[in-house]
């Protein structure tokens, strides 16, 4: 039964001196008991669809078309009608749950407010129902949590409360706007399962909005793909995921790095910001198959089979996976610059780095001039020894232990991946390597010299040997300085004369495939992808020994991320310098790192060559991370591990930090600290590492 039917919805927003066509002729539907995914990159109009459904369009916008809910048009509703429709008809789970909960009211009262408004309950009944609802979304000790204020909740807990608020309105349609943003992979799964449950057990329609198809694929019945405010493809999730018909859907799916290490395709360009409803295919500029007709006329949605339709004149057929290695694509790639760069194709059996196609220079890595002849042949550019970082409260006592004895080294020509959930100490480690944070204990050596032992101008010089590429590309550029200033800053600081500076800035710019016209622009005039290229150019321009990439693509859209990853792959292939790539997203790390370090609560729990860590993880935590990561491809092949509690609910006072969450923990785990020990090709901090595979088999049986 169709619950929501959006027909030919267009929204134009009039801003200061310009207008934006946010949605142009969107048609979609959601039935009762159905989960529909609404996907696409930012700027595609996903949130605008959600806002239109509850009659919450921003100021200065004009809507046309229809949003039928149970037969009545939301856009035509009066104030009173709309008020009674909101909540009971459709309720939104907001993207940022902490911000969407009123800070001055207990979460229990906020839930009771909704229950009393929409359901015929007495206040006492409402309180009981509220506790039940809390329990049903996985909140432990619900009675106590009802009295909590939003700021006392963790992110995951707040998201659960948000879901209970939305379902507490007893809506026919539940809308979730990026419900898992900022949540760790383990939590993401659980939250998404709640929505599936709302459809199956309670018969609600669910519209799940996400930029990441992979993460929501599992729970959706159908998906709708948006591009530049238009629906480009809609259909059953199994079909759209495996054999997408629209070139954009294909590009989107193939831009996502996968745990199985399959190659990533790069689609040049970025989504256009339309002023008015498009008269041609909005994707034509970036499409490898576009014909004259595509630029002359706008393709309308055409049925493929059953519920599956696409808005393309040249819909593609066939499986996405097979075509990756298909001949026609490679021919296209050569011809149209839509290069597929197999970051690492050959399955290296022993973890020996081999089979790079893009990076022939890497072969020379081990042949580099030996600076030290101890552990590695290559010159060591960074060494961190037993580093502890404690962010103390100002008057001593307490303090947050961000790193607890981390040791690692990076050689020239090598790329080290650092992975872990938020709060594991990744960013602190990055700051430590840059000398932005001094270790409380331990030492950090750059180019063989201890950072703590040099001062003044010499320290500044030494610091420039390591450069950082930031997570927030625009925020890492000075708002009032031009691109030329930003890239030239390291040279300026080093006293390079202006003429040479300009030449080198231009060279760096060219390497990033940016046009020189960008030099005089300021950060707010750049797109995220452009800004990140500028950030990489700034890191490169001074020819440092080591570049640290701190989540460089997590703020970018998927197709842009693929472009930047390609650039990074090129940069890190340089044999003269080392690289550290920090990410919460395991798949991106698998792409081009040589070695991987897995961090958990400030400690290294596993370290080893990328193939053995990803192919045969020894630590339960690594295995849990890998098996819970969303994947469109084969994903993690081995047996999975599910951690038993949320990260926020545990604290590591003594012994193995994972013990409270680990399904294999025995009393001995909590008694002593785990040290890194050799296991196969890796080093693992778990005394039961050797027994884990057997234990998993036992559980599965």
């Amino acid at each position: 039964m169709t619950l929501l039917a959006i027909e030919d919805l267009s929204v134009v927003i009039h801003g200061r001196g310009r207008q934006v066509a946010a949605l142009s002729g969107v048609t979609l539907s959601v039935g009762s008991g159905e989960v529909v995914g609404l996907v696409g990159e930012s700027g595609g109009g996903k949130s605008m669809v959600a806002r239109s459904i509850v009659g919450l369009l921003p100021g200065g916008s004009q809507a046309s078309g229809h949003v039928f809910f149970d037969g009545s048009d939301v856009l035509a509703m009066g104030r009173a009608e709309l008020e009674s429709f909101r909540g009971r008809g459709a309720a939104i789970c907001f993207q940022n749950p902490r911000g969407a909960l009123s800070p001055t009211r207990t979460v229990g009262r906020q839930l009771v407010d909704r229950l009393l408004t929409h359901q015929k309950l007495s206040p006492d009944q409402a309180r009981e129902v509220a506790a039940e609802l809390f329990e049903s979304v996985g909140i432990r000790s619900p009675k106590r949590r009802l009295a909590a204020y939003p700021h006392e909740l963790s992110g995951g807990m707040a998201q659960r409360v948000m879901i209970s608020l939305a379902t507490g309105c007893a809506p026919g349609l539940l809308i979730a706007d990026e419900p898992t943003t900022g949540l760790d992979v383990t939590l993401t799964r659980e939250i998404l399962a709640r929505f599936r449950q709302a459809a199956d057990a309670e018969g609600r329609g669910v519209l799940l909005i996400s930029h990441d198809l992979a993460s929501i694929a599992e729970v959706c019945d159908r998906v709708v793909v948006l591009y530049a405010g238009t629906v480009v493809e809609t259909g059953p999730v199994a079909r759209v995921l495996t054999e997408p018909a629209h070139p954009y859907t294909r590009a989107l799916l193939r831009s996502v790095p996968d745990l199985d290490g399959r190659p990533v395709a790069v689609t040049p360009g970025s989504m256009p910001l339309l002023r008015e409803a498009p008269g041609s295919c909005p994707f034509a500029q970036r499409c490898t198959d576009s014909s004259e007709r595509c630029t002359a006329e706008r393709p309308m949605a055409r049925l493929i089979t059953g519920e599956w339709s696409t808005a393309c004149f040249h819909p593609k057929t066939g499986s996405l996976a097979e075509r990756v290695h298909g001949l026609d694509d490679i021919a296209h790639a050569r011809h149209l610059e839509q290069a597929e760069y197999p970051l690492r194709i050959g399955e290296a059996p022993s973890g020996e780095p081999s089979g790079e196609i893009e990076a022939p220079g890497k072969a020379a890595t081990t042949g580099g001039a030996p600076y030290r002849t101890e552990v590695v042949d290559a010159r060591e550019v960074l060494r961190v020894e037993d580093a502890h970082v404690v962010y103390g409260s100002r008057f001593g006592g307490g303090g947050h232990h961000a790193l607890r004895g981390v040791g690692l080294s990076v050689a020239a020509g090598e790329t080290l991946g650092v992975v872990g959930e938020s709060g594991c100490g990744k960013s602190t480690l990055a700051r430590l390597m840059l000398g932005l944070q001094a270790p409380t204990r331990g030492r950090v050596e750059v180019a063989g010299r201890d950072l703590a032992k040099v001062r003044g101008a010499e320290l500044r010089r030494l610091r420039t040997r390591v450069q950082l590429v930031f997570q927030d590309p625009i925020g890492s550029l000075s708002p009032r300085r031009t691109v030329a200033d930003a890239i030239g800053e390291p040279l300026r600081a080093a006293g390079v004369p202006a003429a040479e500076r300009e030449a080198r800035v231009r060279a760096a710019l060219e390497r990033m495939e940016l046009d020189a016209s960008i030099l005089e622009r300021r950060p707010h005039e750049l797109s995220g992808g452009q800004a990140q290229r500028v950030g990489i150019a700034r890191a490169l321009v001074g020819e440092p020994d080591l570049i640290v990439f701190d989540e460089p693509t997590s703020a970018l859209d998927v197709t842009v991320q693929a472009q930047i990853l390609k650039v990074i792959a090129e940069v890190t292939s340089d044999p003269s310098r080392g690289a550290v790539f920090i990410s919460h997203d395991l798949a991106t790390v698998r792409g081009f790192c040589d070695r991987v370090v897995v961090l958990y609560l400030g400690r290294i729990v596993e370290e080893g060559p990328v193939e053995s860590v990803f192919g045969d993880p020894r630590h339960p935590y690594t295995r849990a991370l890998l098996s819970s990561a969303p994947s469109l491809g084969r994903g993690f092949a081995g047996a999975g591990v599910t951690l038993t509690r949320d990260l926020e609910e545990t604290d590591a006072a003594r012994g193995c930090a994972l013990a409270p969450r680990c399904p294999f923990s025995v009393p001995a785990c909590a008694e002593r600290e785990q040290e890194l020990r050799d296991h196969g090709g890796s080093r693992v901090a778990c005394h039961r590492a050797a027994d884990i595979p057997g234990l998993i088999e036992l559980i599965e049986r």
């Binding site: 909540g87 939104i92 800070p103 001055t104 009211r105 929409h118 204020y149 700021h151």
Partner: protein, 336 residues
Amino acid sequence: MRVLRFVLRRLLQLVPVLLGVVILTFLLVRVLPGDPIKTILGPNASEADAAAARARFGLDQPLWQQFLDYLGGLVTGDFGTSIQSGGAVASEMAVRLGPTLELVVIALIIALVIATVLGIWSARRAGGAGDHTVRVGALVGNSVPEFWLGLVLILVVYSVLGWAPAPSGRVDPDTNLSLITGADLLDAALTANGPAFLSALHHLMLPVATLVIVIVAPLLRSVRASALEVLRSEAYTAAATHGLRDRLLLRGYLLRATLARLPALAALVFGFAIGSTVLIEYVFSWQGFGQWALRGLLFRDYPVVQASVLVIALLYVLVFLIADVVQAILDPRVRI
């Protein structure tokens, strides 16, 4: 219990600030030009007379000795003797503080109520004609010199319309009000003196109106800005899109969140009001604390200057302390 601990800790933290204030005023008032002895003896006094007067007020002692004496007095609640009047500073001040506080507190309460109601009303109609009128009105209130506004009110309401009493004194002397706290309204209520109560109210009318007009403006602007921020917040939007009714939204989601940001500003406005009162007292011959302190300053009456500066500082920081406690009550995120 936690609140009490917080208050005690904050009071302890105040000690160094107040000590700084005491030292600074003590030194400044003596270092800067001007001699209190000359102002009481007149220009024709002989050197011997001046020296005798100096000895009488202890001004012939070395500076550190004077300071220690002064500090010792402070500990026992003795603020010294006024050079001008020869009376005890503490008792003179006690009589003067009441009328001024009465004026400020009444005006502040009225202004807070007006600002809250009008500010939220205006924010809910943001961008409309009513909102623009309120905002321009607040700007005018922000720009008007209070001493001139008082004069204009006297001109219109007293001289032309004859509705207000003459701008001298705080209560009709015929009502035989007996002095208890100095705050006439309070004294009248305490002694159940009906006519005095009415007369005091009548006299308060214009000065309170003047003060309200100038202090309501900054409060109103802040309430409006704060309410607007709450209205635009995702939290409020979420509550509204979940279909909660207007009354519940206003009381449960708008009011407290709006006011939670206000206490610190209200404290600041209290200070602003104290400054304005000095001018307003002057205009209405209120014979309050402000006029007394001002005379002390002009005549370099050391003990009076020291005492009034210290009391104002103490009052002001205490008000900020109260504001912090109120804020912690309103906003659960604030930890004290």
